[in-house]
């Protein structure tokens, strides 16, 4: 007999936790789970909601999850609190916004030492946009470096938060947990859905399970969903019969139904994760809603790179690994690609840099692959003289100059929060990256927020590292895509021994082409070892050479001493060197080490 927990939405509270990275989101979640007895101390690992290894390591939440807490409030009533955990990084801002759309309130966590950061602001804006009630929590107040008063003042200076009360907490020490729970019950409104309207449920996440197919996480906004009914996704009108519905405690637990206001899961024989996109609306096929819930959009990758196995024999393994990752990640894009230099591989698209980094690491770590990932790039829109418009992310497919009418590149709006003494250095950096200054405001007497428009291409490589180093680690960054803008871009090719190395071509603003080309050939000269022949390294625009370095021929490389005791050792040394050479990519007569494809664009 399945339990029927309630039928009263008055006692439901749906909320998220939002925070800048490392401000303590997952630890707060753990305390709430423990306090409400959802999970015992013994069961808990450090961060319960983050179960991927990488998540725990990077201290971020990648996939959002939901947990249902039962809480008896001080008013004596029993409440159902649905905590929807959200990804904590800007790359996943669409997923965050859909998770927030499933809530009526949000806990905003701010670190008592670090104060308001770029993603704090971004999260506040998202929460306000979704009409959420915000509960402010200053966390880590137990730390010696905490300055609660200052952080409180920073928060009061944010117009949207002026009126809000602040809860002081230390998730580590368990301080403030009951205050937070009371605030959730008393301040966040119950969901306002209509039981009697046709079913509308918002998909805010989905996971793939090899035995059960795709399981979608939903918030039921209107109506009721229960096993046996036929549902359909409103964006693509695919129909499914509901096999099971249930809630998270925190493991999946089946229930008889999910009603308006509730958060839970649906199993309905969804085959492909791509058919149940985050943000889409599920309705009753026999009594469909007329309008889907607002806010749905197809996620499009922003950052691209090519991934090749170092050993071509691993191509099939790479292919299988990418397929597996895509089962659980509808925002990951990949398609087969061939490079003259690198052989068979894939062009992949990601939500952002962190997403790319996570995928690369998972491929190498979980699937034990040795990969070459090319320099990341963005998607360009090129209007050709023949009237066609093409989108390209791979420099290899860049058309020749005479075919191009105009080129557009994606721009992002960037917010940087920094202590004021670093403003000068940061402005230089942003200027150098073709940034357009928009605005500057002081959060308090010591910190400012800078507002710039920048080509995405300029920040995907090493902008974040540079920003951190110019601000002694204090500046924080947030960005979002705004639009495509016309730019004067050209492709620079790299030739080794007069042969094009397609994987090293790059697209760059015209004004920077010569400088970059020069730096890159210099760097390649350092990285590529001497070969049997002299090897010219050249950079070219449309076959016109704009930079050249020469790697001199190998002159001397011979083991001097070789007597009785040396023979085994020397043979093993030669064997090792030979194995090392196999890991280099051979292009024509030239052997190029992997790192040439990785780091060369990371230059001053």
């Amino acid at each position: 007999m399945l339990k029927d927990f309630h039928s009263n939405t008055k006692n439901i509270r749906n909320f998220s936790i939002i925070a800048h990275i490392d401000h303590g989101k997952s630890t707060i979640a753990d305390r709430l789970l423990e306090y409400t007895g959802t999970i015992s101390e013994r069961e808990r690992k450090e961060q319960i909601l983050d179960d991927m290894d990488l998540e725990r390591e990077k201290g971020i939440t990648i996939k959002s999850k939901a947990v249902r807490l039962h809480y008896r409030a001080k008013d004596g009533n029993e409440y159902v609190l649905n905590l929807i955990d959200t990804p904590g990084h800007v790359d996943f801002s669409y997923e965050v916004s859909r998770s927030l759309a499933a809530c009526e309130g949000a806990l905003l966590i701010v670190d008592a030492s670090q104060g308001v950061q770029a993603q704090t602001l971004a999260n506040i804006h998202l929460a306000v946009k979704n009409n959420l009630k915000i509960i402010i929590i200053i966390n880590k107040i137990d730390l010696a470096t905490a300055d609660t008063e200052k952080v409180n003042q920073e928060l009061k200076n944010i117009p949207e938060l002026k009126e809000e009360e602040v809860i002081l907490a230390s998730a580590k020490e368990g301080i403030g947990t009951s205050d937070i729970l009371e605030a959730i019950v008393n301040k966040i409104p119950p969901p306002s859905g209509e039981l009697n309207l046709p079913l509308r449920a918002l998909i805010f996440d989905s996971i793939y399970n090899p035995y059960q197919g795709t399981i979608v996480y939903v918030k039921v906004v209107d109506g009721i969903i229960k096993p046996g009914i036929i549902i359909q996704t409103m964006s693509n009108e695919k129909k499914y019969e509901v096999a099971e519905v249930g809630v998270f405690r925190p493991n999946m637990e089946p229930t008889k139904k999910l009603i308006a206001g509730e958060v839970g899961y649906i199993k309905a024989g969804f085959k492909n994760i791509k058919d149940t996109q985050v943000g889409d609306t599920i309705t009753d096929a026999s009594n469909p809603a007329r309008k889907s819930l607002s806010g749905y959009k197809k996620v499009t990758p922003l950052v691209f790179c090519s991934i090749y196995p170092i050993d071509n024999k691993e191509y099939e393994n790479l292919k299988a690994a990418l397929e597996k990752l895509k089962l659980n990640d509808s925002s990951l894009f990949s398609e087969p690609e061939t490079s003259q230099a690198l052989g068979f591989g894939f062009r992949c698209g990601f939500l952002g840099l962190l997403h790319m980094e996570i995928i690369q690491e998972r491929l190498e770590r979980e699937y034990d692959l040795n990969l070459i990932a090319t320099t990341p790039s963005v998607m360009y829109q090129i209007a050709k003289k023949d009237g066609k418009t093409i989108k390209i992310s791979n420099p290899a497919s860049f058309p020749s100059k005479i075919e191009i009418e105009k080129i557009e590149e994606p721009y992002v709006k960037v917010n940087i929060i920094t202590p004021s003494q670093y403003i000068g250095g940061i402005m230089d950096l942003v200027q150098d990256r073709r940034g357009t200054f928009k605005n500057m405001e002081y959060i308090d007497e010591k910190r400012a927020i800078l507002d710039y428009d920048l080509p995405l291409n300029e920040i995907i490589l090493d902008f974040y590292d540079k920003l951190k180093s110019r601000s002694s680690g204090y500046a924080s960054l947030d960005y979002e895509f705004i639009s495509y803008k016309q730019s004067d871009l050209i492709k620079v090719d790299i030739l080794a021994n007069h042969e094009l190395v397609d994987a090293l071509s790059f697209i760059v603003h015209k004004d920077k082409a010569y400088y970059r080309a020069r730096k890159i050939v210099e760097k390649l000269k350092e990285i590529i070892p001497r070969q049997l022949y002299q090897v010219p390294i050249q950079a070219a625009i449309e076959r016109k050479i704009i930079a050249r370095e020469t790697i001199k021929a190998l002159k001397k490389d011979v083991i001097a001493k070789c007597y009785g005791g040396d023979i085994t050792r020397k043979r093993k040394l030669l064997e090792k060197q030979k194995a090392g050479k196999k890991r280099m990519k051979r292009l024509g007569k030239v052997e190029i080490p992997q790192e040439a494809f990785l780091g060369i664009l990371k230059i001053e």
Binding site: K555, K556, D557, V558, I559, G564, I567, T568, R571, E575
Partner: protein, 378 residues
Amino acid sequence: MDLGLYLHLPFCKSKCHYCDFNSYPLRDDYQLSSYISALYSEIAIYSQKLKNITIKTIYLGGGTPSILSGDSIYNILNFCKNSFKIDKNAEITIEVNPGTLDKKKTKRLNEAGINRLSLGAQSFNDSLLKKLGRIHTAQDIIDSYYKARESGFNNINIDIMFALPDQTLIDFRNTMKKAISLKLDHLSLYNLTIEKGTIFFESFKEGKLNLPTEDEEYDMYSWAINFLEKNGFEHYEISNFARPSKRSIHNQIYWYNQPYLGIGAGACSFINRYRYMNFKDPSRYIKEVENGKLPVDKGEKLSLRKRMAETVILNLRTKEGVVYQKFYNRFKVKMDEIFNQQVDKLVGLGLLRKDNYKIQLTKKGLFIANNVFREFVD
């Protein structure tokens, strides 16, 4: 079976800055005498195990074998003669450190039957000698050399190193000219390499070692080859030069990949397709021998493929190169059938020269021989 015999004496007065050999600063006389006793025991064990062998050459290496007294060396060699059958014309070499030789000792070495001397000179530049951590001066080399000549040694080698920190081509030429003025019989010329576990390695890591560039190394080496050939030396192995009939017979055993027996701590042997090494640590070595065991630490039985590859690589180090007939006599298979592809490729690259009888390194191949050798290993 003909064998070369190597005896290792791992003690030195102090450790040189570049040295990664199995050598240790000598603590006291007791350490030395217990080590010598162990050598006797190991020789005794092998004299029981290896019947029907003839020792063609003996080589006393180190460390610094000349740190031993003349009598000790005499007695060790005498014991070898009693334990093994030794060819009456055997070449018997000892490595000598210029700081450790006097007239009495040279005389005794001569009486012990030693007929070849190898002087670890390294350089004739005193400031470079100091940098290397050598305990002698340029004058000590010259003095030792003449003492040896006076005692009747007519086959003397000196070791010279190049590509030293702060060394210029001019420094090096001066050293070579001084060496040649001594009317040597043989010269070994080694490119300095920075090995782990040495003082130089530590300085190198800290960026404190001003080493010549690859181009400068090339210039030194190629100048030296020309210079020595002009002065009547035959360049018979990558690092070795000899007057006519003064090649090192013992070392040729290594390059022709022939069997040898190594005795002493860390010594290597190559017998019956096994190449193995004794324990390096002298105390461990002594302990094993005292327990009546062969002090072997590790070894491998070489597969046919490895023996063929090693033979090719080692032979290519020599002026003669790989002689097809010899290869066939040894392995009963034609070298062409095994290494056809590699040889053609390397001939195409101009690194090997091939005729109807043999293959050899070309001049170009000599300087970058590792690129040739790598082709033959797995």
